[in-house]
Symmetry: D4
Subunit: 218 residues, 8 copies
């Protein structure tokens, strides 16, 4: 297990991370962590590693792209001084190119995405014990699908930056691909983007496995 | 893994099972399974065993005691023909003796509890592949506490009936006791009864381990 | 124009037809016809053919499959004695096979779909001046996609029944395919099923062209 | 078709344009364009000319008169740099003279109306490819009716300014007059001002025909 | 003053009488009489003739036509045994012919209107001390307007029946015509049907003057 | 009739004047004048003197005492430049002495009341054609009742200031006393302060009679 | 103390007893007993005599008069088998004579009141250990006030029946009169009927003193 | 009785004091004092000592700890110039250590608690006639329970400061302990912190007894 006793674990991202979390930051009781994979990660850490006392904080915000993250990085990441940071961003950067193609201000193309994410990682890596980079994903089996294709490109950028920076890398698309062999996308998400609880379990498990979580301990 | 491809897994119980599930029965998309351990079990089964296509159904109802279960057993359990059935009941049977001691009609004492639960189990065991009996629990560390003491008695009854009937037995109190070593009850439930997501993760994990779930497969 | 002065034009279908129509039947002022293609057809008929005084009625119901239509056919179609009837059904018959694959009671397979729709058409064709059969559709470009593939099969059944019964046939999938060349599905519908206003315009135009509507008359 | 690929088409006006559009500007999915003629224009442009990728924006505001338009012209029109601009204003300028005759601050008389509209047109015409001026209208058949009479005067001002400035001119009153031959005003609008969907179809068709829209292309 | 101490005065009609009255019958405190002319009549009777103790009851119902009145006449009029009865009906009988011309079931034509109203009056006149018949009205100055013309026909029917039956006759259209000389219809009602408080004052005054109310007494 | 064509008539006061009026000022359609005597005055002026075109404005505010009026006098009275002004204040000045006797900051005693009201009247009288001073009132028959007694003192102050300043004086208590001979206070107001519609009719009639309103003219 | 260990104490009455209690009967946690004197009595009994375990039940219903009590007596009193019963009724019997004098069906005059209450008492006295009769009251100092005068008559009837039947008698009017010497009625109740918490404390104290409650014990 | 005629009695604390009080300060009618012990104290003071005219003010705020009190001490205590002040604080200072152990910023440890409370008392004692210090409490019978143990430590600090400063000391834990002998904690509070009405009666009685309240006087 990579996490140490008493550490602070911060998640940042878009609506998939947000999931109705509390404001200004999601932590503590009463579903303050939202209803998604962050809450599942926290629940399993408390249930299986209660003695570690990991403090999980959710600062995901619906609709965010990587530029939105940059704009609130100081306040929502650096000022909170996390020991461990997880970033999953890119869905909206890509999606806006496909659902509102005429409104080009809302698009974040690959070069901007890469440069911005890299700079955030570079600035933050030295300040944390663990940095986890999770790819964005699209719940579509067909790799030739235009939006899936673009999402894969953004996922490859995340992988490249993870390797450059020696961060932990979580390939969420690969994790979902395993499940999509047996389940049609509509079973996991009506819009192929916002997962059901089962989809969030896929995300939580991929994350936990990467940080050395052991289900059967204790 | 005890569950077979295409089987139907039904959960019945009180508010800890219910957790805002859909009516008349909780199953399918859009959080129809509620926000508790049933939803977690379903999510992890879909995420880790997608090829099994297990159909999970939640018919827990807030406020129920074992007599309420008996009253709707035909309609909510037998008529649905589950392959696997999980029962967790007893919280309200005990709690009403402590929070409204003057309203004795609401109390279900141990002899009635035992006789009723035994008869439901006897009637149903032959009709299902797997029957899981989960104890009620109370998030109180002190075994001498009056309500914890009574709850333990009811848990012992569940254990006895599980053994008699050769059912699978899940000792939820024992599972919580491990966590309570490190966490004060208020961290898991303000009222010592309705668990946080972490508490539901404890329940889901205890259940899944009993039916042979393997986190690391696949 | 196939419609005659004073005729009653009835639309039946699922949520794509319903679109928040009034109950028990949608007709008259104050958006009683809903917010979808039925309202557009009505608006354009009134705007371009005001002297015809066509009475449009919407009895689409969200979630319906062909068996639901059969169950209310007497009350919602025959008793209303339409001069012209339009049917668009099949989305849910197919979709439930893909979004809740474990809940098989909700699936309507091709043979049942075909037999049921044929019997409704046979019974009703002699009673109306015009019968319009619209295919269901799926806003997915990839014909190899499993659900698109199934939807195309159901569309072919509609075509066959239209030909057999000499009904007017509207190939909505073909109409959408033209638009999907230029627009990614997410532009027209987040869930690939419920269209935006632009998608409803595609449907309304396909319907109107089939009944001889002339935009430039008058 | 006067519109070119990728152009931005902006609509400004009062409640007849607004129709519950999103704020600060109406564009994109989820009925952001409102429920009126602007949404219809957008839907038909996407359905029939999907390859053009026209970006439609709605900045109509309920209750506005021409002075309100002037006050937000920089922010809502000029700063948005539309390629094509459509203006329909005057209803409230006239209506307030008739429904609250004692509150004279709310009245905009013909000379002010004319001078203000002319100055807005003069300033903006050089900046756009196409400028469309739509008259206000009143759903009243009787030309001797006092308010209809005044509205016709304002319509004549719009026509004069369109001619002076070589703008495209849409005579909405004339378009409605054709329909009013067959339909009593109450069929189209309970208050003779806010049209039903059929009324909005009259407006959308008049607009589209003026910019060269062809229903049967493609 | 025609009303006697302790008498019961009942008003029946459509939405113009209803005005959000209490159910099942509007009488007593807390705006139970609604917000229209009935409440004004009651208020002025109490204020000016407090010693008479007149009991006013409102059983107007929005959307009613004369056939709807007939259907509830026993329960809402006869069973309540009023001493004085006021009827104002006909608006919807006429309006539906103009706002939803295609839905002919909703129309009540003049012959049915006349026969039904006459039979109600004939049956009830012998049972009450005073019967007041108020015409329907339309807030339109132009007598050649189609709907105003029809409304005048229905008003003439009311007058004829009042004369035949020796009932008190209140010509509400005539009362409004006086005001419409100075005020445009939109000042009194946005839809020309549902009056503002000023319009209700016109109705209340016409009614009160007919029953001998003296403003300056006491 | 003291009011002239086109004059502006402003009412200021407390909750009895306010009655849910629109903000910032109550005037125009849609019950903007509230549900009390101001609305009745406006309705009767429009109904009986439509040719005068009197503009009625309501700036009463719930909970106000005379000091609250002073604080907003410039903005709500002087800046609006009324031709005729009506003031009815004092209820809360007195009531707070009786319903929250311990909270003395909320009390306005007679000397402060008199001085403040006199100064407002002195400042404003020269600026208006007509100034109407209405007494506060208390719907209690017993003159020896403590609160009624105090209210009468405040009424006497209003009378004195009206005489000094040659303003029109409306003795609302006297008007109510006539009605209270026949009706118990609870019939007119459950709390003896906020009148029913009948009570508001008493107020409106007293006001209108003072300014020369003739019910039977026209 | 007249109450014995484990006894059931039932309160019946009108809105003063009801105070938003739970339905069908008010007892147990979460303010099920309402917000009035019943809740205060229960709270003080639990706080001062916790070992007695008195079960308090509230079946007061807003708007009830003595005839309403009679209509539900079997179900709400006899079937619940109380050991001790408290009745406080009469407010509405009297009040309706004063606030809606014209609606005579709502009045319950003294003879009916007396006969009905006596018969209920006679039937029930033998079935309970203690029967408490509380008078209705009116928060008005002036005994010559018409409604106070009538209320005193009804109070005298309660006293007479209490004496006849050897029931415990609580003179609530007398208890309030002591407080009214120092506090004006409006301090205790805006409508002179529904008491503030202070008024409910007066009622609870009068009741408790009658049954032998000792504040300083324990 | 320690309170004198006309004195102002201020209560400050956390949610147990707050209980939905009005803002900015709770006093006066309409439950402005909230639904807890403060309201009970006020009600009993008015009911039993109406001639004293004690003015009770509630400035408790949910979620507050002693540092929050310090932050608003000037505005909410000193500026209001109370004659008598009651402080009950500490619940949240302790509770946060147990329900969100990982979020250490929310914890107020004993040394900070003691120093802060002492300084507030020292500053304020000379300014008031009576200062009442109430301990925090925890509705748990087991003194070895971790949170009960800590709460007792904080209670001991309150006692020490009360003695040092010669303030009145109310041992709420001791008052509850008497009741807990007979009632299980869940009867008084589901979360062992927020009391039922019975629990608030325990608090009110302990407070009143300390200031010399006599239930049987008058």
């Amino acid at each position: 297990m990579l996490l140490q006793k008493g550490q602070k674990l911060l998640f940042i991202g878009d609506s998939i991370t947000d999931c109705e979390r509390a404001r200004p930051a999601g932590e503590g009781l009463f579903n303050a962590l939202g209803r998604g994979y962050v809450s599942l990660v926290d629940a399993l850490l408390q249930a299986v590693y209660p003695e570690l006392g990991i403090r999980v904080i959710n600062v995901g915000s619906s609709g965010n792209n990587v530029l939105d993250l940059k704009a609130r990085w100081q306040e929502d990441v650096l000022d909170r001084k996390p020991d461990c940071l997880s970033i999953m961003i890119g869905t909206n950067d890509v999606w806006r190119q496909y659902d509102t193609p005429f409104i080009t201000e809302g698009h974040v193309y690959a070069d901007t995405y890469e440069a911005t994410l890299r700079s955030l990682v570079k600035e933050t890596k030295p300040l944390v014990s663990n940095l986890v980079l999770m790819t964005p994903f699209y719940l579509e089996r067909n790799e030739q699908d235009a939006m899936r294709h673009t999402m894969d490109e953004y996922g490859a950028i995340v992988k490249k930056i993870a390797e450059e920076s020696d961060s932990l890398f979580v390939d969420t698309q690969a994790a979902f691909n395993l499940v999509l062999k047996d389940l049609y996308p509509a079973t996991l998400a009506w819009d192929r983007v916002h997962p059901s609880q089962a989809g969030h379990a896929v995300l939580a498990r991929a994350f936990l496995n990467k940080i050395g979580f052991e289900w059967n301990r204790g």
